[in-house]
């Protein structure tokens, strides 16, 4: 279980970005973390994988633990070797490297069989195998996203954190990425899916958390979230009953409800 408890993060010593966030990612499950831009989703991921430093952020309270052992403020390399790997937002492949080299970088911490991990990634993404000698910069957006996920899988993570894997992809490719996430999960990897595309995220996840301005304002099993009227209106883009659109102010009631540890 990857567990985040009461996490508080401050940027530049003054900007409070996360105000006490708690959630769990059980082993081998998919959990979705949803929210609008600026809600703090990416910050949560950065805090978990130890990448806050580079953005001048700091964990001021709370704890993050993997399988009962704390990794709060651990070094990124240690966190990766504990089995938690993040796919950064916006793909960020090494454009001047070949596909193969990109994967080798991903296997940096793995002491085991790099070949076997590579075979597994090529099985997941046959396309990458075809193009393994070409420069990653020449791949299409969807292929680059696959490469980014594949690169993260090279460290054989127990928990995979995906930051907006559907960003800027055509609906068909979003479908593909979705299927791959499901497949990765079926092979036993827990997935924390941070998404704007709530529809896709909720359709494959077990449980969903909704963030607003640095707090988790709602958390329910994904199926229930899908049926929730407010969620439907503001995250799934449906709106119930036709008629006039509701004002955001009227539905934000849940935001004011205090949510302590859960």
């Amino acid at each position: 279980m990857l567990e985040v408890a009461n996490l508080e993060v401050v940027y530049h010593d003054v900007i409070l970005v996360l105000r006490g966030i708690s959630f769990q990612l059980p082993e081998g499950k998919i959990v979705a973390l949803l929210g609008a831009n600026g809600a703090g989703k990416t910050t949560v991921l950065r805090a978990i994988t130890g990448l806050l430093d580079i953005q001048n952020g700091d964990i001021t309270k709370g704890e993050i633990s993997v399988d009962g052992k704390t990794i709060t403020k651990a070094r990124p390399s240690e966190i990766v070797s504990r089995g938690v790997t993040q796919v950064l937002e916006g793909r960020r492949v090494f454009g001047e490297f070949t596909v193969e080299e990109n994967l080798r970088v991903g296997a940096h911490t793995s002491k085991g069989d790099t070949e076997a991990h590579a075979m597994r990634v090529y099985d997941l993404f046959p396309l990458l195998k075809e193009r393994r000698k070409s420069l990653a910069g020449y791949l299409s957006g969807g292929e680059q996203q696959m490469l980014a996920i594949g690169r993260a899988m090279m460290s054989d993570p127990k928990y995979l954190l995906l930051d907006e894997p559907s960003l800027g992809l055509a609906p068909l490719l979003v479908q593909q990425i979705r299927d791959i996430i499901v497949e990765i999960n079926e092979q036993g990897t827990g997935v924390l899916l941070v998404e704007q595309n709530a529809n896709m995220a909720l359709s494959i996840s077990e449980h969903g958390y909704i963030m607003e301005t640095g707090k988790i304002v709602m958390d329910k099993p994904s199926a229930e979230l899908m049926r929730d009227e407010d969620v439907q209106e503001f995250y799934l883009g449906l709106h119930a009953g036709g008629g006039e659109r509701k004002s955001f102010r009227d539905v934000k009631h849940y935001k004011r409800r205090k949510r302590w540890l859960s």
Partner: protein, 298 residues
């Protein structure tokens, strides 16, 4: 023709020294975007260590050289850990000035140790030469070119095939992604300085191995590697090699032919040539021959 070949040999051996230094500059620059002005001091320190061990302590030259390489690596590592690492994230200008300070801090005590006399590094090449047709090749030139070639090839293989070399390249491209893959970027920084130090030790020993020996002003050699990397492009390893060749050959040809054709420029004009080449290249290609052009959106 003989004169030309002779000048080429001299140019190649100069280029080997510049290349060993330039590669150090580039490796550091690539890993942390810092131009280390402390490099000349580290080179001088290493050359002194070799000289001290080989001459004062009567150690075997090769052993002394190996220890010198290690000492320079340690010095590079210390400089990085103590002075440069805490400055990461600060303006590059501040870090550059800091490395100048480091240069003075290391060079002053080393200068005192070297003293005013010319020291020898105790190299085994001496004045030995090899006659190839009409061309006379000094043994030390052969040693330099061979060493530079071996070091260059090893470095190439290291960056291409090894896990750590790949991690270094990845760090140079995108530090954050490198961190996210579990690469310990701090260790990569240290390694860059250690490698640069080791190569500077070789360069310093070679530079002090000829008639001029080791003096307080030997460090100027390292400053001439700066035009080499700027010509090649600050962040290109291949560029450092090409830049070193251009600068070394240009300097040697000028030394050979200038007094004959352009005598009015005075003696020792060849010392200025590296900077002249630098100026011309920058006028035509501001990012060097192989450097990454910075594209900025306005």
């Amino acid at each position: 023709m003989t004169t030309f070949l002779q000048a080429t040999v001299a140019g190649l051996s100069l280029a080997s020294i510049y290349m060993l230094l330039a590669l150090g500059f580039v490796i550091i620059y690539k890993s942390m975007q810092v131009l280390s002005f402390a490099h000349p001091a580290i080179m001088l320190f290493a050359a002194y260590m070799v000289s001290w061990m080989a001459i004062d302590k009567q150690l075997n030259f090769w052993l002394a050289l190996a220890l010198g390489v290690v000492a320079a690596g340690v010095m590079g590592w210390l400089a990085e850990r103590v002075a440069v690492r805490p400055m990461i994230g600060k303006p590059l200008f501040a870090i550059a000035i800091l490395t100048i300070g480091l240069d003075i801090a290391i060079r002053t005590p080393v200068n005192n140790l070297i003293g005013v006399n010319i020291r020898s590094v105790g190299d085994p090449w001496g004045f030995g030469t090899l006659q190839l047709g009409d061309v006379v090749i000094q043994h030390r030139s052969i040693a330099m070119v061979v060493t530079a070639f071996i070091v260059g090839s090893l470095l190439f293989a290291f960056f291409r095939f090894s896990r750590v070399g790949l991690a270094m390249r990845a760090t140079a491209i995108d530090q954050e992604v490198a961190l996210a893959q579990g690469i310990s970027v701090g260790r990569i920084f240290s390694l860059a300085w250690i490698m640069a130090g080791g190569m500077a030790a070789l360069a310093g020993t070679f530079a002090s191995s000829d008639l001029s020996g080791l003096t307080q002003s030997t460090y100027i050699v390292a400053l001439k590697a700066l035009p080499a990397i700027v010509v090649g492009g600050l962040d290109s390893i291949g560029g450092a090699v090409v830049g070193a060749l251009i600068i070394g050959l240009a300097e040697a040809y000028t030394a050979t032919y200038q007094s004959q054709y352009l005598g009015f420029l005075g003696g020792n004009f060849s010392q200025v040539v590296p900077y002249l080449v630098l100026l011309i290249v920058l006028l035509i290609k501001p990012y060097g021959l192989f450097g990454t052009e910075e594209v900025e959106r306005v």
